[in-house]
Amino acid sequence: MLRVIVRRLLQLVVTLIALSALIFIWLRNLPGGPVEALLGERATPERRVLLTKALGYDQPILVQYGKFMQRVVTGDFGNSIRTGDPVTEVISRAFPATIELALAAMIIAVGLGVPLGYLAARWRGRSLDNLTIAGTLLGISIPIFFLGYLLKDVFTQNIHWFPPSGRLTTGLDNTHVTGFFVLDGLLTREFDASADALWHLILPAITLATIPLAVIVRITRASVLDVLNEDYVRTAEAKGLRHRTIRGRHILRNALLPVVTTIGLQTGALLSGAVLTEKVYNWGGLGTLITDSITGGRDYPVLQAIILLAALVFVVVNLLVDLSYAFIDPRVRVR
């Protein structure tokens, strides 16, 4: 087990180093070169010279890369061109919003997807199964920003069930503790703020959940179908175990293993989807930050940090999932 962990960590480090090298190359090849990309077009010549010196761009390429890595490791990404605020500050404001949205979407996708996939497999070929498969195909084929607008139109314009955008009703002042608004409200006992945040969260979370939901339903279904054919299920039936025991211990537990891994893989889909969903609902998380950083004059210091952060999150989540997989499934541990 320990060997697996160590090897996976080493692979993770290699991947991250390769990624940072790519970002370094990316930054150097941006229009106008790295200094202009980091300072913006309107910077004075003196500042350019200063930054060129500070970043070491007048030195050999390996030294430049070394300095770049040093800044990455210490989390020093400079200041945003657009607002002038330190990049780390800008990102730490937006990060909890995206995580809150992504977590809510994942809860919906898993909470709905696993039972649906299981039922579809159990009643294979019946109408629920066919309907579920048709639904998942549609879910994969629909542009999710369009779905977002559709939901927004129906549930905020036609019937006023949910608020159209933002994370909180304006005027409602909540205390920020963690940046997760629903959690903040519970921690500070501002339950009205918590409820309001949750109310704002529902539509965007449903929109974002579409693709992971479709994928999880399909994986669960295929996985349950496979397990149903296993010898040990037949054995369990033959020795007269109760159906509930067979379903819980033999079928679901084994069928869920691949689902756990899928959850890790869907982190990528969630981060991609968040960019689109946040724009539809004006959410103000990392996705909004990316869009603003590109369309409002290219804010490369911010972009660079977000890209690294997104890759880090994705890789670390997948590492955790793989490790938990090795933990859940004894067969992986033995080898």
Partner: protein
């Protein structure tokens, strides 16, 4: 037909899969440690297995013939192929079908055009006007053409680069393989849309080509992994061994024996990639990173720009392109999944 190579990963007896989508996503509870990498192991394992599945065939022709026979009996494949066929026909014959020039502005449409009212159906313009007074129906029809262009080109570029990387990795093996596969790992480490955004940001301004390129690059690691896995499986197969024993040059073994037999899975993946490509292109347009040409009639662009901006004024501007994209993406997905199922040797009887 049971094959030792394909069966190795799946020791369980299986029933035939008759549904689209039940053929993929194979769970492997007893997945070996070998296939545990930094990320996307499931994805990778699945790609590798698919690659093996399509590579394990001894006679390439009979597999294809067998697959075609099964496809023709599968209603899902027929629906998918019909949608794709119709879409391609509309794209090719757009000038004959469309009632008007897609970029011409009509006086009878522009005179009723204001910021918060865009004329709906009128005589001669059954879909009404777009925000610039052009015939919306004609733009929708020509849209098939541009959408096909973007999708096909993006898929082809992604496929070519991916096949190149995968073939080199698979043919050489060793450290070349390790380095190239690490590279695909890094590309897979970035969520697809973020990778596309990063690439678009490299250009000083966006054009149709930045969009096509960005969308194409996203699919490169998938093709590369798929082909590499398939090539590696071919390496050990009997016909390659026979060729080697006969003294066929290594280069010819790779080009004439390994590569052609590995391409089936890649072609299937290309069908699925097309759907993703037009969806991603639409997403980039929506984010304001798409093609800036206001004359270009492409569904993703129409949905992402006009559809978004005028959603309150005239939602049809979003509905029609969205519907077109959904139907076409669905068609390609159905066809691709039916094909994937058809080439899976496990389903051969």
């Amino acid at each position: 037909m049971s094959d030792p190579i394909t069966q190795a990963g799946a020791p369980t007896p299986r029933s035939g899969n008759d549904k689209p989508g039940s053929g993929d996503d194979k769970p492997r509870p007893g997945m070996s440690e070998r296939s545990i990498g930094v990320l996307g192991d499931r994805k990778k394992a699945r790609l590798d297995e698919l690659a093996r599945a399509s590579a394990s065939d001894r006679g390439g022709v009979s597999l294809v013939r067998d697959a075609v026979r099964r496809l023709r009996r599968n209603p899902v494949a027929i629906v998918g192929a019909s949608i794709v066929g119709l879409f391609i026909l509309v794209a090719i014959f757009a000038p004959l079908i469309a009632p008007h020039d897609p970029v011409q502005r009509f006086d009878e449409l522009t005179k009723n055009l204001t910021v918060d009212s865009i004329p709906g159906a009128t005589a001669g313009h059954p879909f009404g006007s777009d925000p610039l007074g052009r015939d919306f129906l004609s733009r929708m029809i020509y849209g098939a053409r541009q959408t096909l262009f973007v999708g096909v080109l993006a898929t082809l570029i992604g496929l070519s680069l991916g096949v190149l990387i995968g073939a080199i990795a698979g043919a050489f093996g060793g450290w070349v393989d390790v380095v190239l596969m690490r590279l695909t790992d890094v590309m897979l480490a970035l969520p697809s849309l973020l990778l596309a955004i990063t690439l678009v940001a490299m250009a000083s301004r966006s054009s149709q080509w930045t969009v096509i390129f960005a969308v194409a690059i996203v699919s490169v690691p998938i093709f590369a992994r798929l082909l590499r896995g398939s090539m590696l499986a071919q390496r050990e197969s009997d016909h390659v061994l026979a060729a080697r024993a006969l003294g066929v040059k290594e280069r010819n073994i790779v080009l004439r024996h390994m590569l052609p037999n590995s391409l089936t899975a890649v072609i299937v993946q290309a069908t699925l990639t097309f759907a993703v490509a037009i969806l991603d292109a639409a997403a980039l347009s929506f984010l304001g990173l798409g093609d800036p040409d206001i004359n270009r009639a492409e569904w993703g662009l129409m949905l992402g720009v006009d559809g978004q901006r005028y959603f309150e004024v005239r939602p049809e501007l979003a509905y029609y392109p969205a519907l077109a994209i959904i139907v076409v993406a669905l068609g390609f997905t159905l066809l691709g999944e039916a094909m994937r199922e058809a080439i899976d040797p496990k389903n051969r009887r």
